[in-house]
Symmetry: C2
Subunit: 303 residues, 2 copies
């Protein structure tokens, strides 16, 4: 057995540098036919690395997911389960992972015809859920999340070989411009930003709370923002942002009285399933990066 080739070396103790992306952004055929996304939508996604779909789910669908999320948050407060991330200090729930496997409503969301159809148009082949979670950003003291490419982490720490994954972030509450919305750097997905340092062992136990590794260089960030600017799609509950696995994104803290919470699903192409982590370390747990549950999602199906 040969070691898989590391197409995107990062955190190997070298300098920060920028490498060109080796895969397409939109893998599906165009013109696109009868998918939910238009050719314009796909062109927009390809050029900018994300696509905001306001009011993607209707009020009823969104309310059901929000109620489930609220109930989950209350039930898991102070939990020591590995899939529950607790705020240091307050004991409040900050994230719950693997919701597409634990909760029927979120399992159905992963198989929502419009969502799965759109993701399949982008990735061009059957997909499975690489990761899912609900993020709860409290009012008044929501913390920032610094700039990062998800793919950088998934590649180094989880062994995702190539850039052929798409995330869907669903607003469960109103996203205002001032309550720490997701900020993205348009066009940043076209390059891979290799990060300095080396990943320490069991890094994930801390990294979900605080980032120290996989942090891009400020000068590179500045260059990306000079070219692409910063966009923060806002919208009512039920709005979705689809974004490429390698687009640079982050969010500011939130001192407003408006909490923010969203459901987050990562769809990965079946032929991009995880190999051994490129860090050389043991894989992260199943609830963070799926290895066992790599079956194609079927629209409306139960997986």
């Amino acid at each position: 057995m040969t070691e898989p080739l590391d197409l995107y070396p990062s955190r190997i103790g070298g300098e920060t540098r920028i490498l060109p992306r080796k895969e397409p952004v939109v893998h599906g055929p165009r013109p696109t036919g009868d998918g939910p996304l238009s050719d314009d939508d796909l062109e927009h996604f390809e050029r900018r690395g994300f696509l905001a779909l306001e009011g993607f789910l209707d009020a009823e669908e969104t309310a059901a997911l929000r109620e489930e999320a609220t109930a989950l948050r209350e039930r898991r407060a102070g939990s020591e389960a590995p899939e529950v991330i607790i705020e240091p200090g307050s004991g409040e729930v900050r994230s719950v992972f693997a919701i597409h496997r634990s909760r029927a409503t979120f399992a159905a969301l992963a198989r929502h015809p419009g969502l799965l159809g759109a993701v399949t148009q982008i990735l061009g082949e059957p997909v499975y859920v690489h990761q899912s979670r609900i993020n709860y950003k409290p009012a008044f003291r929501g913390r920032e999340f610094y700039w990062h490419s998800d793919f950088e982490t998934w590649h180094v720490e989880d062994g995702m070989p190539r850039m052929r994954a798409v995330s869907a972030s669903l607003n469960l509450l109103d996203n205002h411009v001032h309550n720490g919305p997701l900020m993205l750097v348009p066009g940043s997905h076209r390059n891979f930003v290799s990060c300095p340092g080396v990943t320490p062992e069991r890094h994930y136990e801390q990294s979900l709370r605080r980032q120290e590794y996989g942090v891009p260089d400020p000068e590179i960030l500045e260059g990306l923002v000079q070219r692409g600017g910063i966009e923060a799609p806002i919208g009512p509950p039920g709005s979705i942002v689809l974004f490429d696995c390698n687009v640079m994104h982050g969010s500011n803290g939130n001192i407003t009285p408006w909490p923010r919470s969203n459901a987050f699903l990562v769809f990965n192409a079946l032929d991009n399933a995880l190999v051994a982590p490129f860090s050389g370390q043991p894989p992260r747990p199943e609830h963070i990066a799926s290895r066992e549950h790599v079956e194609p999602l079927e629209i409306g199906g139960r997986g």
Copy 2:
């Protein structure tokens, strides 16, 4: 000699509560005659507690102030002077106080005909500078500043008797919507939010870096925002926001590559000069709250 009456008790160990404002917001006569602000401007200020004036200073005036601010920041890095506030850890300059007395350009700004004219229209009598400073909010890791009323602090810690002061915040760099701009709660200036706790001694040595006292109750904040919303005036360098001493305001952190810096001047009515602090503690130093330099500003004059 009798003790001055405390019209706005706060941090006296009691409950948080809301008291109605006892002074007008606009003290000058209306119709206003030939001042720089129109009657509409003054009505807007009275109702909302602030007024954004885009492009108030021209590019040349703004560039001179910005250069001075940049030079000051470099020269005072690591300074132990009391008027220089240093970021814990990095040693970087976060604020420099009393700039209207140390720097000729900022002394002239305090006597700028348009600015002093506008402030006098609002306060209705001769004014002096209660406090001045430059704030430097760095790119990538700018910290949040939690919600507060300046008057609450100036009353409790400095002995400002009444609400008859106006702040001017001048953008020295572009304020974007995502780099932690000043956020204000329209209408919040009409009530005084009495805060819990008791001010510890020499509180100011920490409070300029981190707030623990004079922090309004979250439920009261939520009510204020439900009624008034949140506004964050943005604008190019040279734009000014005039805001009432009692309007609730704050700012989010800043992870963008865009630093933010502004000059801040507080004008107080001569007849509202400081008395003994209502906390019962010794006054804060002159560079934070002026007691010795209470002479009326004259347009274009040297004070």
